[in-house]
Subunit: 378 residues, 2 copies
């Protein structure tokens, strides 16, 4: 790996802080381009944002997408992707990519066999084969993928977990984070630390201290949206975010609904990812500015209106609800494509409007209005 | 329905006849635009060419697509489509559409209950509901869809069928064709007659006489590619095509492979449709200028080359065989999208090259060369 000619290939510029909340406006610079924050990252699990051409993802407004290390490691394999010129080249996406550590998937998908100081032994959900993941290997894989933003291997507990269990897990995550940082060998690839600590404020605080002590290019809140009540998630974000260094980006992993994005932006989060817009699209659940729509509903059978009158996406400009319902009922692939275009557009347009409203100093107004509208039909 | 202001909204211009074969170059004018012939029509069974945006289908070079009357009648229903402004508007395809009569699907998909002089009673393959299709209703449905080229309801026998059975069926098809023509009530919608007669030359000849006697805007050869040996299909096309009026387009229904398109163009056919490029794409069977590829094959695991070095389609310009294999193995929707783009492009590029070679008087050379190349790896 060669060093980038610029001194700081990765840096975060904090452009503005909202007066009425902790919301922040910024830009993240990576070796594959800039990311406007607050940012939402569409999920491209297996080297594709499901059903979309990469050009479409870009046109919809994505500055960055997320790739799943666990999935790509198992299939097609990181060495294959390295040989193909890295993940960007392989999947024809020439903009920033963040890869997770695979930790979450190892615990949620793989049959976990043994966790030790060294790492974790797990079985593939595809063929049951046995694999060893260590902090060092995790970073090596992400280097092979050519990720712009790599994540540390962590242990991600589900909710609820006892104080003692969470403390023990957190300490391991901190030791692993140190090993991840020591393994990183390129300035071109940024590395984020992950703050765990479950639903225990004292442990969250300690995690921030310990992880920030090691020092990373950005800080992620992990272990949230794993089954805990929404209020606990918000409470953890609210107390943790302001403890993080102001000059580094803050990433809330795996979150969330449009309401979550607004709430957590207000709490000082800069980056989000979630499968919700893409997965819901495949299930026919569509986001609109006047609430959610289940497109298979009989009420849309002869509905000439677009999905969302306020939306300017390709789907809303060209198709009726009646057509989208027909495609979905007939199990046509185009249903998934058009639904995904709309939902991803909805999320990315929301983020664009959030950024605009912070810029213009009307974030809280925007948030109140948006929430009022999407709750109209609930 | 109002008459188009032009006297002949539908007409065929025969531009050139090939010197070395019966191949013809022409243009078909419909109320939704022109079609260059020989033409291949991608199949859009359920108001979508599976997995493709209509703009993509157009960009790949399609002048016309085919819609399936049987499928659209059952779901979402032709009256719904009429209310939505017709099939073009419903599916956002503003170019010519040919609709089949549904006859073939009634015999192949629906449980046929009773065929009578009046029409055919059949059961839906979706929910088992009972339906009556008559020649009059078939045309009314296609009018509701707003098809540019409608097809007569026919009886389509499978192979083999006895002389007597074929003769009886043919006579019914001719009587039905007359009723279809009498029902047609708009100059905007052309109507093609269908020539049946199975594998019996005498009956094929009689079918041409009887159907041409009624007089249609174009003539289709039906009941081929239904299980008969390839030589019989070619023999039937060879003897039937030249008997059809020279000034009307000739359409070979449901055919075929790239080889078939070349062979039957040489025999005087102007229009083709087939599910092969789209269906094979979904199954990972890809056409290339050096033969067919099963993309799941392990030999493509680390293959950096595009599917087809000679192809200029979006898929070949941007992705490796290794990536396409990965997507296919991982059952990603994008696999189907990219494969379909390539296969449809392959078919439409073939047709473009066929037209160019007829224009330049080198059709037979082109054909020989093309066949030599695609057989190289067989």
């Amino acid at each position: 790996m060669t060093l980038d000619s610029k001194k700081e290939p990765f840096h975060f510029n904090l452009l503005k802080k909202d007066a009425g909340s902790r919301a922040r406006l910024g830009t993240l610079t990576t070796s594959h381009g800039q990311i406007k924050t607050p940012a939402f990252m569409p999920v491209g699990t297996q080297a594709t944002v499901k059903s979309l051409l990469p050009e479409t993802v870009r046109q919809l407004g994505a500055d960055i997408i997320l790739g799943n290390t666990y999935h790509l490691y198992l299939r097609p394999g990181h060495e294959l992707i390295r040989k193909m010129g890295g993940l960007h080249e392989f999947m024809n996406w020439h903009h920033p990519i963040l890869t997770d550590s695979g930790g979450f998937q190892i615990y949620s998908l793989g049959a976990l066999r043994k966790l030790s100081e060294k790492g974790v032994v797990f079985r593939s959900h595809i063929d049951g084969s046995s694999h060893v993941m260590t902090p060092e290997y995790c970073i090596a894989i992400q280097h092979a993928l050519g990720s712009d933003i790599m994540m540390c291997l962590d242990e991600c507990l589900s909710y609820p977990a006892s104080f003692d269990e969470t403390e023990k897990s957190l300490e391991l995550t901190v030791r692993w984070a140190r090993r991840c940082k020591e393994t990183k060998n390129s300035e071109r690839n940024a590395l984020f630390g992950i703050i765990q600590g479950g639903a225990w404020p004292r442990l969250r605080k300690r995690a921030v201290d310990d992880i920030c002590d090691i020092g990373f290019d950005g800080y992620a809140l992990g272990g949230l949206s794993v089954g805990e009540p929404k209020e606990i998630m918000y409470e953890m974000v609210e107390m943790t975010a302001p403890l993080c260094p102001e000059d580094k980006p803050r990433y809330l992993m795996g979150v969330g609904t449009p309401e979550d994005l607004l709430a957590c932006t207000a709490l000082g989060i800069d980056m989000f990812d979630c499968v919700m817009p893409t997965r819901n699209a495949r299930n026919g659940m569509l986001f609109t500015n006047s609430g959610k729509i289940a497109i298979k509903n009989a009420r849309y059978r002869e509905d000439k209106a677009p999905l969302d009158e306020q939306c300017r996406c390709y789907t809303c400009r060209n198709y009726s609800r009646a057509y989208l319902r027909h495609l979905f009922i007939a199990r046509e692939i185009l249903a998934i494509v058009l639904n995904t275009i709309h939902n991803v557009s909805f999320y990315l347009t929301l983020m664009e409007n959030i950024r605009k409203s912070i810029q213009e100093g009307v974030f809280e107004d925007f948030r109140r209005n948006f929430l009022k509208n999407i709750r109209k039909n609930d």
